[in-house]
C-alpha cells in the first residue's frame, strides 16, 4: 500500500525538522515547504493526504495556501498550526473544513495522535465517496448499455460524463470511417453553428493525438478522452472522442474525475459498438423481412401463374371440344340453307341467327384462350405512348364512323413500362372498344398518360407508377353495376354484344404486370378507366 503523504508548511525550520523526523518515524512520506508559494508548487505536483500549515508566513498566508490546495484536491485534510490563534482564524479554519487547529507550542505525541485520527477519518471518507461514486458510475453504465438508439445514446454518454466531472461544456465526436474525420454527434453548452460546422480531420489538433495514441490528453481545464472499446471487434482502435471542459466550480479536473471519465469512455465505446451492431441487426432483420415479403410475392405470383396455366389448359381443352361441334353445326346449317331452304327469306333469317350464335360461342372461346396467354407473358421495355397510339389506330375508322373524336394528352418524354406488348395492346384495344360501344352516335374518347411519382402500392415497395386514363363521354355505368364490372362473364351490353370476359382479362393482365385497373363512372356523363403500371427505370 502507498505511504500516506504529508506536506508540512512552516517558515520555522525547527518546526519543519521536528515534524519531519517524527512523521517519517511513523511511516509517513513527508515533504516540507518554508513558504506558501513553495507549498503550492509542491501541492500541484503531488496529491497530498494531509497539509499541516502555519498561518503567518512570509509571501503567502497559510489560509490562502489551504484554500487553494483544497480547490484542486478536495479530499486533502488540513491541520492548522499557529502561534497566534484568534477566534477569526479558528472560524475560518472550520469553514474551509480544517480537521484541527493546533496552537504552538505543541506536544509532538498529541500532534501524531491527531494526525493519525485525521488520516483514519480521511481513509473512511474517501472509501465512502469512492463507493458512492462507483454506485453512480454503475448506474450510469447500466443506463448507457440499455440504450440501443444512437442519438439518445450519444446524448446520455455526454450527459453522464458532464455529471461525473460536474462540467458545463462538452461534446462527443465520432470518426467517420470513410472520411476519417471527427464529427460532432452530441454537444452541450456549444454554439449550434460550431456543432454543425465542426469536422476535424485527424491531423489537426489535440484530438488527433488523443485518438491516435489512445492516451488521455489533458490540459488543465479540458479533458479529451478517446473512445476505445475493449471488445476484440474494434481491435483497440478509437471510435471517437469525448471532450469535456468548464467545470462548474471553475477548478481543474481532479485525477479521480479523469479516471472515472476515462473508464466511462471505455464503457461508452462498447455501448456505441453494441448499438451499431444492434442497428445493423435491425437492418438485417428489415432486409430479411423484405426478402420474405418478396418471397411471398413471388409465391403468390407462382400460384397465380399455376392457376392461370390450369385455366389455360382447361381453356385449350374446352376450345377443342366446343369448336369441333361448332364446326359441325355451321357445316350442317350451311348445307340446310343451300339445299333444303333455298331462296326462302324466313329460313335465311333463321340460318343467320344460328350463325350469330355460333360466333358468340366461338368468341367466348377466343376470350378464354386469352386468359391462358396471360400466364406466359413476354416482358420487354415498351413505349407506352406508342402502344396506346397503335391500339387507337385499330379503332380509328370505327371512331370516325360513330363521330367520336379521339383526344390524346401524353407527356413529351417517352414513358416506358415493362410489359408484354401484344397482351397490353389488347387490354387498351378492349378499353377503347368498350368506350366506343358506350358512344354509338357521338362523343369524345380521351386518352392520357401521367407520371405519379413515388407510390406505395406494390407490396410496400416504393415504385414510380404511370397512370393511363381512358375516358369516354358515353352513357356511363350505374353504381350497382360498377362493383361487378371486373367479374368474369359480367356484361352491361346486350346479349351477343360482349362475352363479359374483356375487363376481367384486362384486370388479370394488369395484375400480372404488377399494375391495376380501376373505374369511375357517372350515368349520362361518361366512364373513366384508370390503369396504373410500374414505370420502367
Amino acid at each position: 500500500m502507498d505511504k500516506q503523504k504529508i506536506l508540512v508548511v512552516d517558515d520555522e525550520a525547527i518546526i519543519r525538522q521536528l515534524l519531519t523526523r517524527s512523521l517519517l518515524k511513523e511511516g509517513y512520506e513527508v515533504e516540507t515547504a518554508e513558504d506558501g508559494n513553495i507549498a503550492l508548487e509542491k501541492a500541484k505536483k503531488t496529491s497530498f493526504n494531509l497539509l499541516i500549515t502555519d498561518l503567518k508566513m512570509p509571501k503567502k498566508d497559510g489560509m490562502e495556501v489551504l484554500k487553494e490546495v483544497k480547490r484542486t484536491n478536495p479530499y486533502v485534510e488540513l491541520i492548522i498550526l499557529t502561534g497566534y490563534p484568534t477566534i477569526e482564524t479558528a472560524v475560518e479554519a472550520v469553514r474551509i473544513g480544517a480537521f484541527d487547529f493546533i496552537c504552538k507550542p505543541f506536544d509532538v505525541q498529541a500532534m501524531l495522535t491527531t494526525i493519525k485520527q485525521c488520516l483514519e477519518k480521511q481513509k473512511y471518507q474517501i472509501k465512502h465517496i469512492e463507493l458512492s461514486e462507483l454506485m453512480t458510475f454503475a448506474e450510469i453504465t447500466r443506463l448507457i448499455t440499455s440504450v440501443f438508439e444512437l442519438e439518445p445514446l450519444f446524448n446520455r454518454i455526454l450527459d453522464s460524463a458532464l455529471s461525473i466531472t460536474k462540467a458545463k461544456r462538452g461534446s462527443l465526436m465520432l470518426i467517420d470511417p470513410k472520411t476519417r474525420a471527427l464529427n460532432v454527434k452530441a454537444a452541450r453548452g456549444l454554439d449550434k453553428n460550431i456543432i454543425r460546422n465542426t469536422e476535424i480531420n485527424l491531423n489537426e489538433d489535440i484530438s488527433d493525438k488523443a485518438v491516435q495514441g489512445k492516451e488521455q490528453a489533458l490540459t488543465s481545464s479540458t479533458l479529451n478522452i478517446p473512445l476505445v472499446s475493449i471488445s476484440s471487434r474494434s481491435k483497440g482502435n478509437a471510435l471517437g472522442m469525448l471532450n469535456i471542459s468548464d467545470k462548474v466550480s471553475e477548478e481543474s479536473f481532479t485525477e479521480r474525475e479523469k479516471t472515472l471519465v476515462f473508464v466511462l469512455a471505455g464503457q461508452a465505446a462498447v455501448a456505441i459498438e453494441n448499438a451499431g451492431l444492434y442497428l445493423q441487426l435491425q437492418e438485417n432483420i428489415d432486409g430479411l423481412r423484405k426478402v420474405i415479403a418478396q418471397l411471398n410475392d413471388t409465391q403468390n405470383q407462382l400460384i397465380q401463374t399455376e392457376k392461370l396455366a390450369a385455366v389455360g389448359h382447361l381453356a385449350f381443352g374446352i376450345a377443342h371440344e366446343i369448336r369441333n361441334p361448332l364446326g359441325i353445326i355451321l357445316g350442317g346449317v350451311e348445307l340446310l340453307n343451300n339445299t333444303l331452304c333455298k331462296n326462302d327469306n324466313a329460313s335465311d333469317e333463321v340460318v343467320g341467327k344460328i350463325k350469330n350464335s355460333i360466333d358468340r360461342a366461338n368468341n367466348i372461346i377466343v376470350d378464354l384462350l386469352k386468359f391462358s396467354r396471360a400466364s406466359k407473358l413476354e416482358l420487354k421495355l415498351v413505349d407506352l405512348g406508342k402502344l396506346l397510339d397503335e391500339a387507337a389506330a385499330l379503332v380509328a375508322s370505327r371512331a370516325r364512323l360513330s363521330n367520336v373524336e379521339i383526344e390524346k394528352n401524353f407527356p413529351k418524354e417517352n414513358v416506358r413500362v415493362n410489359a408484354d406488348e401484344t397482351v397490353l395492346r389488347q387490354v387498351f384495344f378492349n378499353l377503347y372498344t368498350n368506350a366506343l360501344d358506350a358512344m354509338p352516335k357521338e362523343g369524345r374518347l380521351k386518352l392520357s398518360i401521367s407520371l405519379n411519382g413515388k407510390n406505395k402500392e406494390n407490396n410496400g415497395k416504393k415504385e414510380n407508377f404511370v397512370t393511363v386514363e381512358v375516358a369516354d363521354t358515353g352513357k356511363g355505368i350505374r353504381e350497382e353495376e360498377l362493383s361487378n364490372i371486373f367479374n368474369p362473364f359480367f356484361t352491361t351490353k346486350e346479349p351477343g354484344k360482349g362475352t363479359g370476359l374483356g375487363l376481367s382479362i384486362a384486370h388479370l393482365i394488369l395484375e400480372r404486370h404488377n399494375g391495376r385497373i380501376d373505374v369511375k363512372s357517372k350515368v349520362n356523363e361518361g366512364t373513366t378507366f384508370v390503369v396504373k403500371l410500374p414505370q420502367a427505370a
Binding site: 385449350f316 376450345a319 377443342h320 371440344e321 366446343i322 369448336r323 369441333n324 361448332l326 364446326g327 359441325i328 353445326i329 355451321l330 357445316g331 350442317g332 350451311e334 348445307l335 343451300n338 339445299t339 350463325k355 355460333i358 366461338n362 384462350l369
Partner: protein
Amino acid sequence: MRNRRKILLIDDEEDFCFFIKQNLEHSAKVLVDYAANPDRGIAMARKDPPDLIFLDVMMPGKDGIKIIEILKKDKKTMSIPIVMLTAVEDDATKLKAARYYCEDYLVKPVSRQRLEDKIDEVLNRQGQIRA
C-alpha cells in the same frame, strides 16, 4: 369444262367431313374425299394425290403434325399443298405446321365461303409457282 379440283379432308369428326363435302361439292367446282382415320387418309393421298389436303390436328392414332411430316417426306405427296383445319389454336402447333411448309392454318368453325376462298387462293398460288 375444266376438271373439278380434288380435295382430301383428313379429320376424325365424320359428321364434319360429311357436311364439308356436301357444302363444297355444291358449287360443282371441287370434289371432296375424306378420311376419318389418319392412316387411311395417308393411303388415299398416296394412291390418288389430291390438289389440296385439309388436315385436322388432334386425331386418335396419329396427330396432324405427324401426318404432314410423313406426306412431306414422300415423293408422291410432298408437293401437295396442305391447309390445317382444326379446333386446336396454339402457337406451338402453328409453328410446327409452318415448319413443314403447311400453306395455312384455319381454326374451326369455318364457313363454306372461307373454305372456297382458301382453296382458290392456295391453288392459284400453286398454279403460278408451277407455271
